[in-house]
């Protein structure tokens, strides 16, 4: 079985799968990042993604344009994020409760609307859908290795990568981004300089909605061409883990998402090896175990640097002296 796995790594199938499975996590966690940076931890990623996934495919299939679908998915997510802001910032509902509420809401409202508008229970599978296009790069697409790595991906894969740069520039190169970061660090400090803390937190939630909206629409109109109830199946929570793992910066988020994407790609490959002796459950656990390991390695290394410098103390002369 290993030879089969190896050959797929060699022939770069894994890269293709990696990019595809990284994208929704990446986009969703960028969304999570922006609100997290201002101190609003958005646990509602899952629900927002579902709503966007449904909205974009619904509008996309009715209008016949994927672009309109994606934009509507994003708009709805932004609106929902504002609603989260209303409940959390204005009504002072705990952000975690708000997040879980959005998750439950997203799951239910999509099922409800699906049956209301499309008379479909559980899944909506429009035919002739205009999906988010695939980008084939001329010339490069014919070169074997480069072609496989760079060509033939969904437009949203590229948008996802661009968004990393966009968020980086926004957070570090614009005053707005510095304000956002300052608010997350010390709202009093920001407030004392006249920065409208509340309003910026709303705006951060709105950005959250934008990116999560893109992630959702990619799931229903890029990765697949359908909406299935609860189709996000935990992606939002994985994204949340990536937000926290990624050390609150877009590059960390990218790395975190890639680790996840890699684990998922590996899972996919391991799952399709004939007569694999590994029980499927263990393969399914892979992304989660990898995350824990990544986190522990990261944390131990951070701590290790401190412990190293102290180790002399425990072996040094101080501890050699017996108490009198």
């Amino acid at each position: 079985m290993w030879s089969s796995l190896w050959s797929q790594i060699i022939d770069l199938s894994i890269v293709v799968i990696l990019l595809r499975s990284t994208t929704p996590i990446l986009l969703a966690s960028l969304g999570g990042l922006i609100s997290d940076v201002t101190g609003v931890t958005n646990i509602g990623l899952e629900g927002l993604m579902l709503v966007s996934a449904f909205t974009s495919i619904a509008i996309g299939s009715v209008t016949g344009y994927w672009s309109i679908g994606v934009v509507s998915g994003v708009i709805i997510c932004v609106l929902l994020s504002y609603a989260m802001g209303f409940f959390h910032l204005k009504m002072k509902v705990d952000i975690i409760i708000t997040g879980f509420a959005v998750n439950m809401f997203g799951s239910s409202v999509t099922i409800f609307l699906m049956s209301k508008f499309f008379d479909a229970t559980g899944s909506f599978n429009p035919s002739g859908l205009d999906k988010i296009p695939v980008v084939n790069i001329p010339l490069i697409k014919d070169i074997s290795i480069l072609g496989k790595i760079f060509s033939g991906h969904s437009l949203m894969v590229w948008i996802g990568l661009l968004c990393v740069g966009f968020v980086f520039i926004m957070l570090y190169r614009t005053p707005y981004g510095v304000h956002l970061r300052a608010i997350g660090e010390s709202p009093q400090a920001a407030g004392s300089l006249g920065i409208p803390v509340r309003r910026l937190q709303y705006s951060a939630l709105a950005w959250s909605g934008v990116f999560v909206g893109l992630a959702g629409s990619f799931m229903s109109m890029g990765m697949t061409g359908m909406f299935v109830k609860d189709m996000t199946a935990g992606t939002g929570f994985l994204a949340l883990a990536v937000v926290l793992l990624g050390n609150r910066n877009p590059i960390g988020i990218l790395i975190g998402s890639l680790i996840f994407g890699f684990a998922k790609a590996l899972e996919t490959l391991l799952q399709t090896i004939p007569n694999s002796p590994i029980p499927s459950q263990f393969v399914q656990m892979l992304p989660y175990v990898v995350t824990i390991l990544a986190l522990v390695v990261y944390a131990v290394r951070k701590q290790g640097r401190q412990i190293d410098s102290l180790s002399e103390a425990s072996t040094g002369p101080a501890s050699a002296v017996a108490p009198k």
Binding site: T121, G122, G225, I273
Partner: protein, 333 residues
Amino acid sequence: GGNKSSGDKGGGNGDGDGKSGGKLSVGYYVNATLGDKSFFDSVKRGVDKAEKELGYEVKTIEGGTNQGDWHAGIESMVSSGKYDVILVGTSQTVEMVDELAQKYPDQKFIFFDDVVDQPNVYSMTYSQSEGSFLAGAFAGLVTINEELEGANPEKVIGFVGGMDIPIINDFKSGYEQGAHYVDKDIKVVSSIIGNFADAPKAKELTLSQINSQNADVVYQVAAAAGLGVLEAANEKGVYSIGVDSNQNDIHPGSVLTSMMKNLDSSTFRALEMFQGGELPFGTHEELGVKEEGVGLAQDDLYNEHVPQSIRDQMEDITKKLADGEIEVKSTLK
């Protein structure tokens, strides 16, 4: 399959003294949510048909996925006393219904997909292994077929299941038996999604089966997530087999057939018999290929896209199954 009768014909109350005056009422408890495009939806279709054609009053309650809720959910339907007959199913609720049937001996139940041995319960089960045997044989014929454009010379077929649990493994086992009946050398690649909702992952797994293992026909047993399987096969120009209800029209020409548990027609049939007062409560019917409880969806699309040779062979195999010439082993027994 067969018709094992384990009790005398219990009284159906088809004489019209229904509890809601005149009309008979049926309560359908879904121990999940609707919308899997398969199992529970199929029963729902049968119930809806009964509402339209037999004049039943129908109430469907979705119990959700939390198993802890189901007992209370079913019991509250029973204790409300509103329903002449309650329709509920799956092996996950056997004990609950068993207990409730004893506690409320006047309440009639129609139980599907497993057996509850009580005098006020009529049970019907579906041999998914027999049905999947057909699917496996079909897949085997497709992958070695030379007429079909999407079929390649490699003898590899795919299976994508929702979870690694006994019922899914029963499907899988039947599928493998069928494929090996056609050709011993066929390799079955099997992947498990881990839930019944993650369509993107189902699609990813299927793509990988097709791309790296050269599977050219994939059978999905993953409820709503399985739609991802069908889409992947369609995109790649290979074939797939739907499940539970007729999914042939989702991607015509790619979804060549579907393994159907005909819960709709058997539900309708049971309700029809109930209305006529002739439903044999206290008995259990196993509906296999012979009873047409399970079978492949052989509709116009099937006839249009499946080569004659395969159709002929399938007819032959179906006949052998019905006659008991071929025995399918179920992992559940």
